[in-house]
């Protein structure tokens, strides 16, 4: 063992911070990179398949109906208002507000999942019809898994935040990062929405 | 230096391979314009790469030899590990420049090789369709006059000196068409149309082989390429256009009976007979070919017996089933097949 020379004392460093200081933030960002790569490649596959075709959808299939998808888009975009309020509340450590707003987010998640069910119904194709059908089903399913996982994550966190641990800084960081992830989920939805509903109508 | 020995052995194999094998299936075949282009370019690459390799190994050896020098070095023990020999920085820049130059030279060389191959491809005079199946090649010679179009299998005849465009299709999985003595490879992909242009320059017999893994019998999916003089090629074409001869001996006749009424006719076509299926290879001029079952066996009476009797032990997994012919039937079938010259 080499003899040591003492320098800084770190005892007064905090154990949590919001944003890039925390490991949670890096975990979420890494996860986003992985998911993003997955989505980008799925988009690439979509355009690769589209590139072969004279018409899109091929064989003059009917493009998906707009209603459910557009409704979903509006709701998920509006949910960002609640999401931003949560972020703000947690940064101000206003725990009762966070508890309340997260409840709203959980409810929004349920609504979104229900609308998503109708969306699958309005695609006008089954995934077994052809490659076009397969890829739009795949995109929608892929995004649904994100809604589902983030909704479940919000639910668990919401339950946790009801306890005294709501006042624990590291849990607040978790809430903050959960909001960040939700932004990512709706951001991803925009290209998916365009690819499923609008590109086949061009 | 023991390492000197191994390249030596390898060099011997190279020379042996290059000479004694008669370029049957070898990149040194040089039997077409494309293969010649390849070899010229390959030599340029080998020379430049060899120079780079010698430089690297030279530097390595210099480093090893230099370790026993007497003067202080830039090392921890001498307390000088934060210093750097002034030769190294310019050396690094020079090395980078050298690699860059070498790569540019090589890229330009391949650009020109590719251009000249592309130019040759623009002047094709004959078009052939090859459709790959698990595990055999279906070959069609197309002519504007439909009566002169012809279908054969596992054997390709090309006229020397004529650029030929071969259109490549697949009926099942991805295969790759590759006759090393003539040209590089090109994949046959279901749902896509590829092609390759070859201009053979040397009369001879060459072997090609599927180069993309295509299932159980990928290893036994070969084809024979005959590069003929133009006259021989036309003669061959005319001969192939004829229907199968009517059998003359009683034995062959009973073989004819069996082949056209039993299992064989459900998959194979023999022009001029009731056997007209297209599932398996065309057998009209089977006996004129040099191999059986996509290069699995050389053509001979004995091998025909073996193949017809039990294809599954020769090429396990092949789509031709073992029928279990009675000896009498077997004699007859082989006798008939032998007449399909």
């Amino acid at each position: 063992m080499i003899p040591v020379r003492f320098t800084d004392d770190v005892a007064d460093l905090p154990t949590h911070k919001f944003g890039p200081s925390s490991l949670t933030w890096w975990g979420i960002i890494s996860f986003m990179i992985v998911e993003g790569a997955f989505f980008m490649l799925a988009f690439a596959a979509y355009f690769f398949l589209m590139g072969h075709e004279q018409g899109w959808p091929p064989e003059a299939r009917k493009a998906p109906d707009l209603l459910a998808g557009t409704l979903f888009t509006i709701v998920i975009l509006l949910s960002e208002i609640v999401n931003t309020s949560i972020k703000k509340a947690v940064h101000e450590r206003d725990i009762p507000a966070v508890r309340r707003l997260m409840g709203v987010m959980v409810a929004i998640g349920v609504i979104l999942l229900i609308i998503r069910g109708f969306e699958f119904n309005s695609l006008n194709v089954r995934w077994t019809d052809d490659a076009y059908s397969s890829i739009i089903w795949a995109l929608l399913l892929l995004h649904t898994t994100h809604i589902l996982t983030d909704w479940f994550d919000t639910l668990v966190l919401w339950a946790l935040i009801q306890t005294r641990l709501g006042y624990e800084g590291r849990r607040q960081v978790d809430v903050d990062e959960n909001c960040l992830y939700w932004r990512y989920v709706w951001l991803l939805w925009i290209p998916v929405y365009l690819m499923i509903y609008w590109i086949p109508r061009l | 230096m023991r390492r000197r020995v191994r390249p030596g052995i390898a060099l011997v194999t190279l020379v042996l391979g290059g000479c004694s094998i008669q370029n049957y299936q070898s990149i040194y075949g040089n039997a077409a314009a494309e293969a010649q282009q390849f070899n010229a370019l390959f030599i340029i690459f080998l020379v430049i790469c060899a120079i780079m390799y010698v430089l690297v190994i030279g530097f390595l050896i210099a480093g090893i030899v230099r370790r026993s020098r007497a003067e202080p070095a830039n090392v921890v023990e001498d307390g000088r590990h934060h210093e750097t020999n002034p030769l190294l920085r310019p050396g690094l820049i020079g090395w980078g420049a050298l690699i860059g130059t070498g790569l540019v030279a090589l890229a330009i060389a391949s650009f020109f090789a590719d251009r000249s191959m592309a130019n040759a491809a623009a002047h094709e005079k004959l078009a052939i369709d090859i459709t790959a199946n698990q595990w055999w090649w279906d070959v069609t010679y197309n002519s504007a006059d439909v009566s002169k179009s012809l279908r054969t299998a596992n054997e390709l005849h090309l006229p020397v000196g004529v650029p030929v465009r071969i259109r490549l299709h697949s009926n099942d999985v991805i295969h790759s068409f590759w006759v090393p003595s003539l040209a590089g490879k090109q994949d046959l992909i279901p749902g896509r149309d590829n092609d390759i242009t070859i201009m053979p320059t040397k009369v001879g017999i060459y072997r090609g082989q599927c180069a993309e893994f295509c299932g159980t019998q990928h290893a036994k999916m070969a084809l024979v390429v005959n590069v003929d003089s133009y006259g021989d090629f036309i003669k061959w074409w005319r001969h192939q256009l004829q229907d199968a001869p009517t059998p003359t001996t009683p034995l062959a006749m009973s073989g004819y009976q069996y082949v056209t009424t039993h299992q064989c006719s459900l998959c194979h076509n023999i022009a001029g007979t009731p056997a007209s299926a297209t599932v398996g290879p065309d057998l009209t001029h089977l006996a004129s070919r040099r191999s059986i079952a996509a290069g699995a066996l050389p053509m001979s009476k004995g091998n025909l017996y073996g193949w017809v009797e039990d294809p599954q032990s020769i090429k396990p997994g092949a789509k031709m089933p073992t029928i279990g012919l009675e000896p009498k039937e077997l004699h007859a079938v082989v006798a008939y097949l032998e007449t399909l010259k």
Partner: protein
Amino acid sequence: MTDAVRRSNALKSRRAAEAERRDIEEDDKRLAAERKKIARDGPKLTGAKLEARLLRTWQRPPGIIGWLATVDHKEIGRRYIITALSFLALAGVLALLMRTQLARPDNNMIGASRYNELFTMHGSTMMFLFAVPVMEGVGVFIIPLMLGTRSTAFPRLNAFSYFMYLFGGLLLWGAFALNIGPDIGWFAYTPLSGPQFSPGKRADIWAQMITFTEVAAISAAIVIVATILKARAPGMTLARMPLFAWTMLVVGIMVMLAMPAVALASSMLISDRLVGTHFYNAYEHGDALLWQHLFWFFGHPEVYIIFLPATGFMSTMVETFSRRPIFAYPIVVLALISTGILAFGLWVHHMFATGLPRVGYSFYTAASMTVAIPTGLQIFCWLATMWDGRPRFQVPMLYVVAFIVTFVIGGLSGVIIASVPLDLQLHDTYFIVAHFHYVLIGGAVFPLLGVLTFWYPKMTGRMMDEALGKISFWMVFLGFQLAFFPMHFSGLLGMPRRVYTYPAGLGLELPNLLSSIGAFVVGAAVLLFVINGIKSLYIGALAPDDPWGGSTLEWATSSPPPPYNFAHVPVVESKTPMWDQQGEMPVITGLRVDEKETLLTTVVAAAPDLREPVPEPSLWPFIAAIAIGVVFITSIFSPWSLTIGLVPCAIALTAWFWPKEIKRNPEPVIT
């Protein structure tokens, strides 16, 4: 509801909130008082007393439960390495079987289908179950030690990643043992791997093995990247980071970007096979080439994911044994990063024969060749370091020389096949087999064997036998050349890859026989290496802390390191802290000793940033891995398992995340 009731309810809840806030404020005061009493390392608590207390805190529970629950990166790293080496041995045995079959022309020892299974298993095992995991395993083991931290980031994710990897490997080999192993090649081209031409479950097992190993590799990559970015010792700026950490950072990011491609491709394949989608069905607007694009978008970076950590090994060993810091450190770092970026632009060069537009040929050629520049510069830097230093040729350094001699041949043959006109001939021949074995064995396995010898004392506390090491080195080196050099000629003589036999008379007899003999020499050498490893574990000389005179922090702690890695977290003031410490190691003080805690620093400057509580051992990562594993395996048989199986997965993951007691501590604890 009347107004009055609503108002009284609002009042009630406001009162409750008020009460809670008061409660919390009181609690805060109590916690602040308790916080002062927490024991921390420092001048008052150091030496044997500190070590005893740290050991008590950091030690995992004994027994099988503790073994499954551990989150110690050293244990997990060792497991990763041992498991990966076992798979290397298994895949090596398959290679020997294949070489036996190919030793003579027209050989019938192994049938066609069995041979196809053998090369599929060999390739898949080597790529997915050996090469990537072993590199990540070494990274997981050594990176925290090199960086001077007590733990990796996300230690439970790390444990989870190992179990996923293990289950994936067991799935593949279990299936092989039960005769339902895949037989479609490690690249599984559609439509051969599709529902029609690969009946049964063989291809699905391959595809799900991919999913397992992808999850494992991505998890490990996240752990490694977050550790490197956030957990470095204070003062270890990015510009002072050891080169191996740089390589693992680049590799980690590459894994995150590349692995999703194959995960997507194999998910599409499974859905084609199971629920009848048409992604790869050319007759229903799909495209068989979509598979190849996705697969090689992963497959090409994969090669660098394997190779770059090996360059990190090289830099470490060259530096240590040349007794001189690596020459042109910034150039090496830039070379690493540019290799990482270029790797994503080159996937097309695996597809030259698929009928790409001809106008692109020259572009592909030039793009594929550019990757030779950064690699060439790195090689120069290593050679310059040796030349300028005073190299000592102990066993690890021999492997460095073997790397240069071998890898450069592979690199140069890589330049040859980067040229489209040349590749059209050489593609899918034994020339390619020779090329990538020169690159992967010469470029990755040789440095790996070297670095295992190098870090063996850090892993086990004992030295490997030098004489045996030298014998096995020469055997593996010469045997390798004998096995693979002739393959260049088999390829030039027209031998395609993945054939179970070849006819006599094509001139292939001699090169194949030589290759087979060489393969057995390599097999014997690896066996000797393993024997050396096992023997030294029991009767090897005891290793000092720093047996080689290394430059980086892993040599500052004992061999093997204690569960907490460093009694005091060191402070770094140069690139080679161990060479510049002048008999005294600067350290920080003030980390807890009663609970597991480590220090986080800022990303670039590595200034102390946060104190991070480190999770206690937990069984949940193991249980979650099992729950997810069951979903993956059963989804081979029915799509419903994905929905039903989600429930246990969600339970396991929630339990993993959920704190064991709902109680506030003076400072957070992760149990």
